[in-house]
Structure formats: structure tokens, C-alpha cells
């Protein structure tokens, strides 16, 4: 556990993020960061005064817009966190992490950026004043578990962290977080596999929001973060007819990989490991229930989304792809698709490449090419599955291997 996992088995899934007002869309695949300006209708050229080129030197693991769209952050295996102004697309702050970074969050007011490292530590940096090579302060820690998602509650009172040990921790975000966040509000416990994603549903009835979480256990759950109470569990794969109700999701085929609220949480889009398409859940905030609304299949090509994003409208942006595929001609494979007209009443529309916002230029920018060979995506979907397995699924060693593993442990070697 002391040595980081070997590089050669590591494949990073493609990521997507959309500006809350749909001003721009960003895709990260491998170490590439690609941004398209939807208002100008052209690719954005990012600038980093520190002269770093490329901006990231290893797989990017987390990107997101924050502070109501004013900021954008990117981070990953190169142990750097970069904060960009979305006005100028200039890197305004960079932070060096001791370990690889697995998740990031930006406080709503744009004052703080938090990031989680591979050892379960969450760090915080103050963006005022923005500087290069800012020193982060430790905020909180999950004991040696990979943190998969970091999220501020909509009211800013809590910071949430989810890990691969099934745990979601809700911590009070203090007045002066640079001294650490010591007061734990609750733990949301109930998932039986790694937690892969978090999102908040906001509604008039519930200004502090309800929490949604997706997991390797093939469920999406709804929580009250204040008490940690589990409000509802939606067995998405079973309910969507992907899984026999008595079937065991042992091979993690139905792991929830990402979720994203659409229309302020009225609907929730869910990506599942083996599903060519997405599942839409409807969330009833007053009854505190989740139910499958419809399955939106994407036919014609092997499109299993690795990441979802939605601005506050009824549009859902999806990406699939991986950093590198052994024996594949496309070094950084990404495919972007859009579903529009998502509404409770309406039938959602899978937007064709010719009518995608930003058009061919956007596809060229974000995918690296306007068209990609379908077969590559089947391979990509497989690679992502393997990568998720390595990252998230707890390794179950057969007991006869345990002795040999112990023998090659690092600390033993040192002593020997």
C-alpha cells in the first residue's frame, strides 16, 4: 500500500465539465485539457504563465467549474492542481501536491479550492491572493482510502468526501478552514461497495439540498446530510431491467460510474459501467424518493459514458474515452455526445453530430478529431472497466497469496 500502483495498468477515463451557463465545455483525456468556448464558437487556448507545457504532464483525474462559473480547476496524477480563470482562461493559481490528486472542489464564493490525494488526505488552498505554487493546508483525512469525490453542500456549510471504503463523510466547513475541519456532522453509511460519485439536489422545499450518491453496488442513494440518514435506495441496474433482481453484480458490470443532476435535480442522469446510454431517475424531494424515470439508450455505436455534466438547463453532456489504449491508434480517445430536451414530460433527444452545440468545431476541439472509429470505443469501454477496477474495487486476495504478499512488502524489505 505504501508504493503507488504501477503505471502500466493505469488508464484514466475521459472527463467532461460544462460551465453552469453553458458558456464553455471542457474535456480532459489523458494529460490533455481541451476547452471549447460555446459563445465564441471556437476552441479556447489556455495560458499558463509558469510556462508549463503541456499544462499537465500525466493523467488528469478531476476537472470542474466552480464559483458560479468564474473558476475552473484541473488536477491529477502529475500531482498538480491548476486553477483557471474562465474569463481569460489563464492559470491563476497552481498547487503542488505530495501525492496524486483524485478529486477537487471549489467553494461557491471562490475563496477556497480543496483537493484529495491518493492517500485519503484532503487539502485546502486559499485563492486570495492567487499565486503560483501555493502551499496547501491539510483539511481532513479518510484513513488510507482513495477519495473518489469531493463536494460542497449547496449552502456551503458542509464539505463531503466519498471513498472507496463505502463511506461518505459530511464535515462542517469551518470559518477558518486552514486550521483543519475537525467537526464531523455525519457519516452517510449504507453503500456496500465503493462510492463513485456525489451530487446535490436542490429544491425550494429543501434549500440545504439532499445528497445523491452512486456506487459500485449498482445503486443510487438519497441522503439527508445533516443526520446521515438514508432516505431512499434506487437499485438502478435492476430497476432499469439491466439486472435480474436476484443477480449478483459481482463483476461490477453495473457499477454506477457517474451521476449528474439535470434541471436542478428534478431529474438525475446516471451512467452505468456496462450501459450504452444513461438512466434518468426522478427525484421527489418532498416525498424523499428516487425512481427510474426512463432509460435513454444510445444506439449505433458503443457509447458507454465515462462522465456526465449538465448546465442548469435540460441538456446533458457526456463523454466516453480513455487516456491510452494498448495497441490503439488514438492516443487520447474521447467521444462527446449530447442529450437535449430532458424534461419530465418530454422525450429526450440524442443530438446528432451535425446539430451539436458548437458543431463540428466543438467535436474537433474536444475529441481531437471530428469522427472516431466505433470499434475503438468498445475497447475503450473495456479499458475503463479495468481501470475502475484497479482504482476502486477492493482487492480480494485469495488467502494462499497472502503470505507471499507479506514477504514482498516494502517495510519488510527495508528491515531485511
Amino acid at each position: 500500500m505504501d508504493s503507488e500502483p504501477k503505471k502500466d495498468i493505469e488508464v484514466a477515463p475521459a472527463l467532461i465539465a460544462v460551465h453552469p451557463d453553458q458558456c464553455s465545455v471542457a474535456v480532459a483525456v489523458g494529460h490533455h485539457l481541451r476547452v471549447f468556448d460555446l459563445l465564441a464558437g471556437s476552441a479556447v487556448s489556455l495560458t499558463d504563465d509558469s510556462g508549463a507545457s503541456p499544462f499537465h504532464t500525466d493523467n488528469i483525474r478531476a476537472i470542474r467549474f466552480g464559483a458560479k462559473g468564474k473558476l475552473f480547476v484541473s488536477a491529477g496524477d502529475d500531482k498538480t492542481v491548476k486553477v483557471w480563470s474562465t474569463q481569460s482562461w489563464r492559470c491563476i493559481t497552481s498547487v503542488s501536491s505530495e501525492k496524486r490528486v483524485s478529486a477537487v472542489a471549489i467553494s461557491d464564493d471562490g475563496t477556497y479550492v480543496c483537493f484529495a490525494d491518493k492517500f485519503g488526505l484532503v487539502w485546502i488552498v486559499d485563492l486570495d491572493p492567487p499565486l503560483h505554487d501555493k502551499k496547501p493546508a491539510p483539511l481532513l483525512s479518510h484513513y488510507c482510502s482513495i477519495i473518489t469525490s469531493l463536494e460542497f453542500s449547496p449552502d456551503g456549510r458542509f464539505i463531503l468526501s466519498a471513498d472507496r471504503d463505502f463511506k461518505i463523510r459530511v464535515t462542517c466547513f469551518p470559518k477558518n478552514p486552514l486550521n483543519g475541519a475537525h467537526q464531523i456532522q455525519s457519516f452517510c453509511l449504507g453503500h456496500t461497495e465503493f462510492v463513485s460519485c456525489l451530487a446535490f439536489v436542490q429544491a425550494q422545499e429543501c434549500p440545504q439540498g439532499l445528497l445523491l450518491s452512486g456506487s459500485g453496488d449498482a445503486t443510487v442513494r438519497l441522503w439527508n446530510v445533516e443526520s446521515g440518514a438514508l432516505l431512499d435506495t434506487c437499485e438502478v441496474a435492476t430497476k432499469a431491467g439491466l439486472l435480474e433482481s436476484d443477480g449478483k453484480a459481482e463483476d461490477h458490470d453495473h457499477a454506477v460510474t457517474d451521476l449528474c443532476t439535470v434541471l436542478d435535480g428534478l431529474l438525475v442522469a446516471v451512467a452505468i459501467q456496462s450501459l450504452q446510454g444513461i438512466i434518468l431517475l426522478s427525484c421527489n424531494v418532498s416525498a424523499k424518493t428516487l425512481s427510474v424515470s426512463k432509460v435513454v439508450s444510445i444506439g449505433g455505436e458503443a457509447f458507454v459514458p465515462t462522465c456526465l455534466a449538465s448546465p442548469s438547463t435540460g441538456t446533458l453532456w457526456m463523454v466516453t474515452g480513455v487516456s491510452t489504449l494498448p495497441g490503439c491508434n488514438y492516443p487520447a480517445l474521447a467521444r462527446v455526445r449530447v442529450i437535449s430536451g430532458i424534461d419530465v414530460e418530454q422525450e429526450p433527444v440524442i443530438v446528432g453530430d451535425d446539430s451539436i452545440p458548437g458543431g463540428e468545431k466543438l467535436l474537433e476541439t474536444l475529441q481531437g478529431t471530428a469522427s472516431v472509429d466505433d470499434n475503438a470505443f468498445l475497447a475503450a469501454a473495456e479499458a475503463v472497466k479495468t481501470a475502475m477496477g484497479h482504482l476502486l474495487i477492493k482487492k480480494q486476495y485469495p488467502s494462499e497469496n497472502r503470505e507471499s504478499r507479506k514477504k514482498c512488502r516494502n517495510d519488510r524489505k527495508l528491515k531485511g
Binding site: S141, S145, K175, G180, H182, Q183, I184, L189, G190, R402
Partner: protein, 255 residues
Amino acid sequence: MSENEVNPTISKSTGLPRKRFYRARAHSNPLSDSHFPVSISPSHVDYSRHYPQLFPSAGQADSSKRIQFADVGCGFGGLLISLSTLFPETLMIGMELRDKVTEYVKERISSLRVANPGQYQNVSVVRTNSMKYIPNYFGKGQLSKMFFLFPDPHFKEKNHRRRVISPFLLDEYAYVLEVGGIIYTITDVEELGEWMKSCLENHPMFEALTEKELEADPVVKLLSSATEEGQKVARNGGQTFQAVFRRIVPSDQTS
């Protein structure tokens, strides 16, 4: 096993499990991945399995009685056995990472239950990694006492994060402890004693007990005498270093 076959792991003279059959590696690496079942949440802890006489039915009858004391890294369980009769109305549990040691404690408790009908019903043990799974066993403010007696020292700087008392883990202990609850630590390793004390002193949710409070607390006397490790240290005439702190409401209430 037929009826008159003897169980070699149980001493014939005392009826207690023999320790030598339950020896294990002296130190475990608490960071390595687990191979034991983990409770999904505090409400999933099966009280009827741990305290069968007090919780006769398996169902989670919403009994108000919850575990209140946790002995973390309980080893062979000496402290629990002493506490069991001192606080007969309180439910308590030991948490231990080593499989064989946990089995020993289980045997020890069941032997004591058989030999002393009606007693030792309030004590149990669970095999788990306390550094990862405390919140899976106890809810917010559930515990009134936590014990960390003679924990593994992990001397090397790079192994300090394996220590059971650390600034970050104290956040979790503060969460499971009720306000006014007490955390007891003791060690014979001076450097570790200093470390535990400074972690507690620097944490906004803990405050040291006064000398007077320490004297009045009957549990303090058990720290150096009740456990197997404590007895070993005492036999060798070793010095001990204790730190006993109370869970408080942080002054920065706005946080």
C-alpha cells in the same frame, strides 16, 4: 468434536483459553486491506450476537441500549474484563485487528460467562481495523469512554500515520464520543506518550482532565494494571505515560 475430546486451546486447570495458542505477529500493519467482514453502519451491528443474554432476539429490536465503551486495540482483553464487573450496566466492546487475538478474547469472554452465570454479559469483542471502521460501529456521540492502552508505537517518522492516535483520527473519535466523554491513553514509550498528549492538546475538541478529576476516576487506576501489556511493563518496572482527555464542544462554535 466429540463430547469427551478436549479442546487443547483451553486450559484444563483454569478453563480459560491458553494464550500460547492464540499468539500472532506482534505488530499488524493497519493500512493493509481487510479480510474480515465490516459492519455497514452502526445500525447493522448485531447486538444479539455480541450480547446474547441481553438481546435475546436477533431482530434489531429498537433497544435504547447501545455500546458505550470501546477498547481500541484491546489485545488480550484484560481491561474489558475488569470494566465488565465495574460497570455491569454498560455495554462495552473491544476492537482488535489480529484474528487470533480476537478469537482468544472471544473464548475468554465465553468461558467467563459460563463460569460466572449472569456476569460478563455486557462485554464483547470484534475483529476490525479501528483506524478505518470506527464510524461503522458507533454513531455520533454514542460512546462515553474510549481506551487506547499501550498502542503499537510505530517509531519511524514515515509510519506515524499508522498510529492510532493522530490529529485526523481524533476528529473521528470526537465524533463518536459524547460531549463530556473521556478518552484514555497510556504507553510505556515516552516518545509515543508525548505524541498522544500533544495530539490531544492541540485538538480543539479535547481538554485534559485535572489532577483532581484523574484521582476521582476509578478507571484511571486500571490503565496501568488491567491489561496484559500493562502488567508486563509493571513486572519489568517500566515507566508509563498517560494522557486522559475529555471531549468538549469546540469554542469556535461557528465552525
